[in-house]
């Protein structure tokens, strides 16, 4: 670990370690390299995403260079580095969904929400993500909003689904 990184960790992130993060790291006391991915998963579940501070703190906890931790985190599709919208929409782009027209569902979602995959709408309500396969191929095309499944989605149903979530917070 370079001197500057060490300094950075010591002065900034540990002092400002958020309590939830400290609790997670405490739960993984004496963690080894093999616990890196579970720790990243726990942190993301608690905070919604992996912040720069979190990555640096995890690296220090595991006595690994922060670059290695970041390298692992960016390799896997599950990890993200910015917060989601209040409603996180996952569009399944598996083969079965593709054959049944999930591309036009995705296009319709982009149109309705005015964002592209990976973005969050400006009001912070919706974020859009493309996933490889949700595993509900029998009901294709499928989208999932905060883990709630919508099966057999057609492009013209998209607007009413989005509207139903808008209504939930109104």
């Amino acid at each position: 670990m370079s001197e500057t990184t060490t300094k950075f960790i010591n002065t900034k992130s540990v002092a400002a370690l958020r309590p939830e993060l400290a609790v997670i790291l405490q739960r993984h006391a004496n963690a080894r390299r093999e616990h890196l991915i579970p720790i990243l998963q726990d942190v993301q579940e608690a905070e919604g995403y992996l912040s720069q501070d979190a990555i640096v703190a995890i690296a220090k906890h595991l006595k690994l260079p922060a670059s290695k931790v970041f390298g692992v985190a960016t390799f896997y599709n599950q990890f993200r580095f910015q917060a989601h919208g209040r409603f996180h929409i996952q569009v399944c782009r598996g083969t079965a969904c593709h054959v049944k027209g999930s591309a036009s569902v995705l296009a319709a979602l982009c149109r309705v929400l005015k964002i592209t995959p990976g973005q969050t709408s400006r009001d912070g309500l919706f974020s859009l993500e493309v996933v490889a396969c949700i595993g509900a191929c029998g009901l294709a095309p499928v989208i999932s909003v905060n883990g709630e499944f919508h099966a057999g989605v057609a492009p013209d149903k998209v607007a009413s689904i989005v509207q139903s979530y808008r209504r939930k917070i109104a």
Binding site: G71, T95, A96
Partner: protein, 674 residues
């Protein structure tokens, strides 16, 4: 997932409760005869009252002897996706309101996804009957009629066959239903039937018998020989003989060996592992325990996709319950054999299905494959001998041990014994999971079990085995399914996803879809896979593009790509490091082999015969058929359609993005795509 789904209370454990004070079994000091005593008896202290009590408990758990009606509801992920959560709430509400004395049981998925949400009802003394598509609004009517001993014929699927119970007249049995008739259910035998959270039901149906038998009466070598003789091959896709793999690991001398269950099902179009775990999690634990005993491993990992939260939840519960009853953990059933099973959640990388990549991922590194040998069976997880098997492989183990190698070998064909679970999806009438014996024809699976192509369209191809697989056209539909026959048509078994495609599917678009997928999922370690698949995608994209600006050498470059497509694909195949890259060009090669005419139409005529590739499509409005209703104007996202009400509309070709929205909404067939 709603909280209702995970309803589980430890009071449910009735079978495993002590019969009387003389039963001394406890997790700390397990009784070697526990399973035998619980299921077949007699008990060690041979008390008639205890024997009877044990038998009565088993009967109850098997639901042979009911004192009140039971309502079963399928709450796997696909069931919940179709609205089973709301149906369940409606059932609970109705039962409470009417003050009915019934049991409500959540079961896994029986495999008939198109019929979800599925509700089964069993009245005391009568057979269990399944009903399809029970949305919450249908619940009160359904329950009231069935409890009044009438069967609603609309939405009825079938009744279960059971000699001890009175069947309903005029209702077909499950084994007569076209979806189930040709199936041989060994792996899925409990899925959709039992409560996956309830260990009693699993034990009452013969669960853990194989483990008890293996630990008491057989040596690890016996088990390895049985599995070897049974001819079981890996169900994850490669098809390597499981017994041989186990023997390799057994030969190794090491202080620690590992067993890994690969439940990182990432193939788009395959979902059998999820359904298996959600529907019958204890069977996985039993299969793994037997495997660990056979190879001498004391620690096992289940590497499961984080995208399957319900499966993870059920597994966690199952491991805890099994451990609390001495069926996992230290000194299982007093045999001296111990096994710890740890769940590792995958983080979403397709390449982690490859075993060396999976090992790196468990170790907390990037999931990148390494060259083999040394094989994981010699040097795997943390440098120790490691055996990695697929979920479905483990599901076969208990039956093989219980019924013997000869029984298993009698199912299937010469080199492919046993059964395989296929996931039917795409443009097929009945989607879902079907378990068939090897040797059945593809036509039977798609047209009999699956009910044929959706909406009476023409069958074009079936995509087998995900991104590593191939598209099989209609002339090969009579192919009998086994590991070797698949290779003769350039496909491979893969994990068993079958995606049916009809005339409206463009094969170049499908090839493009897979190249895009592989390009994103390639780990990037070796160049042929990383750069090659990207180049394949580029060439395919060029083929599906219209004539943009073809300046200077543009046309020449496009043709160079076309000419080199096949050569590039074979180079990637020959030079990639792992199976992901070696099989990545398969979708391109197989579509080139069987659908060359479609490629030619795209390349030479710049035409997409299936009307899919937007840039090669030209939408026009038939002035004779158009009445000027304006529906298409509203649907058009690009404001490309013009026309006053009740006047013939027109499409502005410069603005048109060829999305097909107008074609979809026009009820007069006035929109023409060409």
């Amino acid at each position: 997932m709603s909280e209702a789904v995970s309803s589980f209370n430890t009071d449910d454990i009735k079978i495993l409760a002590k019969c009387c004070e003389r039963c001394w079994h406890s997790p700390e000091r397990p009784c070697p005869d526990l399973i035998n005593c619980l299921t077949s008896g007699p008990t060690c202290h041979n008390d008639p009252a205890c024997n009877e009590r044990a038998q009565s408990r088993t009967k109850t758990a098997r639901r042979e002897k009911l004192d009140r009606p039971v309502i079963f509801i399928g709450t796997g992920t696909c069931g919940l996706g179709a609205g089973a959560g709301k149906t369940l709430a409606a059932i609970r509400e109705h039962v409470q309101k009417q003050n009915l004395d019934v049991d409500i049981v959540e079961v896994g998925c029986i495999g008939l996804c198109t019929a979800e949400p599925m509700v089964d009802i069993q009245l005391p003394g009568r057979t269990r009957v399944s009903f399809a598509k029970i949305t919450s609004d249908k619940v009160p009517a359904l329950i009231d009629t069935v409890l009044a001993n009438k069967i609603v014929f609309e939405d009825l699927v079938a009744q279960f066959r059971d000699e001890k119970l009175t069947p309903y007249e005029g209702v077909i049995f499950q084994d007569q239903h076209p979806f189930f008739a040709q199936q041989t259910r060994c792996v899925l035998v409990n899925c959709g039937i039992i409560d996956p959270n309830n260990i009693d039901e699993y034990i009452a149906r013969g669960g853990f018998c194989a483990l008890a038998m293996a630990l008491r009466k057989q040596t690890p070598e016996d088990i390895r020989n049985t599995v070897f003789d049974s001819g079981l091959r890996g169900r994850g896709g490669g098809g390597f003989p499981t017994g041989q793999k186990w023997k390799l690991a057994a030969q190794e001398n090491s202080d620690q060996k590992y067993l890994v269950c690969n439940a990182d099902e990432g193939d788009p179009g395959a979902f059998m592992n999820r359904a298996e775990i959600e529907g019958d999690p204890y069977r996985l634990l039993e299969g793994m325990a037997i495997a660990a005993y056979a190879i001498g491993a004391s620690k096992a990992y289940i590497y499961i996709r984080a995208e399957y939260p319900l499966a993870v939840k059920r597994l966690i519960k199952a491991i805890a319950t099994a451990k609390a009853n001495g069926l996992l953990g230290h000194n299982i059933l007093d045999s001296g054999f111990s096994l710890d099973i740890v769940i590792k959640k995958g983080a979403g990388a397709f390449v982690c299905g490859e075993e060396t990549a999976l090992i790196h991922s468990i170790e907390g590194r990037r999931g990148m494959p390494r060259p083999r040998p040394p094989y994981p069976a010699v040097k795997g997880l943390f440098g120790k001998p490691t055996i990695i098997n697929n979920v479905e492989t483990f599901y076969n183990i208990p039956t093989i041990i219980e019924r013997g190698a000869a029984w298993f070998k009698a199912i299937g064909t010469g080199n492919s014994t046993g059964t395989k679970v296929f996931a039917l999806s795409g443009k097929i009438t009945r989607t879902g999971l079907a378990e068939v014996a090897f040797g059945i024809s593809m036509r039977d699976v798609i047209f009999t079990i699956g009910g044929g192509v959706l909406n009476n369209k023409n069958f074009k191809a079936v995509q087998v085995g995900g991104p590593s697989g191939a598209c099989i056209p209609s002339q090969h539909l009579d192919l009998t399914i086994d590991y070797d026959s698949m290779k003769t048509v350039g496909a491979m078994m893969g994990s068993g996803g079958l995606v049916v495609m009809d005339e409206n599917t463009c094969m170049i678009d499908v090839a493009k879809f897979f190249m895009d997928f592989i390009g994103r999922e390639s780990c990037g370690k070796c160049i042929p896979c990383r750069e090659g698949t990207r180049r394949l995608l580029e060439i395919l994209t060029q083929i599906t593009q219209g004539r943009r600006t073809e300046k200077n050498a543009d046309a020449l470059l496009r043709f160079q790509g076309v000419v080199l497509l096949e050569r590039l694909a074979s180079v990637i195949k020959d030079t990639s490091l792992c199976a992901l890259g070696q099989t990545a060009p398969n979708p391109v090669l197989s579509t080139l082999r069987y659908f060359r005419d479609e490629y030619e139409a795209h390349i030479f005529e710049r035409r997409c015969p299936a009307h899919v590739c937007p840039e090669l499509l030209n939408y026009t409005i038939d002035s004779e058929a158009c009445v000027g209703c304006g529906v298409c104007i509203k649907a058009c996202p690009a404001d490309a359609i013009i026309g006053a009400p009740k006047q013939v509309h027109e499409i502005n070709q410069d603005k048109c993005v060829a999305c097909g929205s107008c074609l979809e909404v026009c009820r007069l067939n006035a929109v023409i795509a060409a």
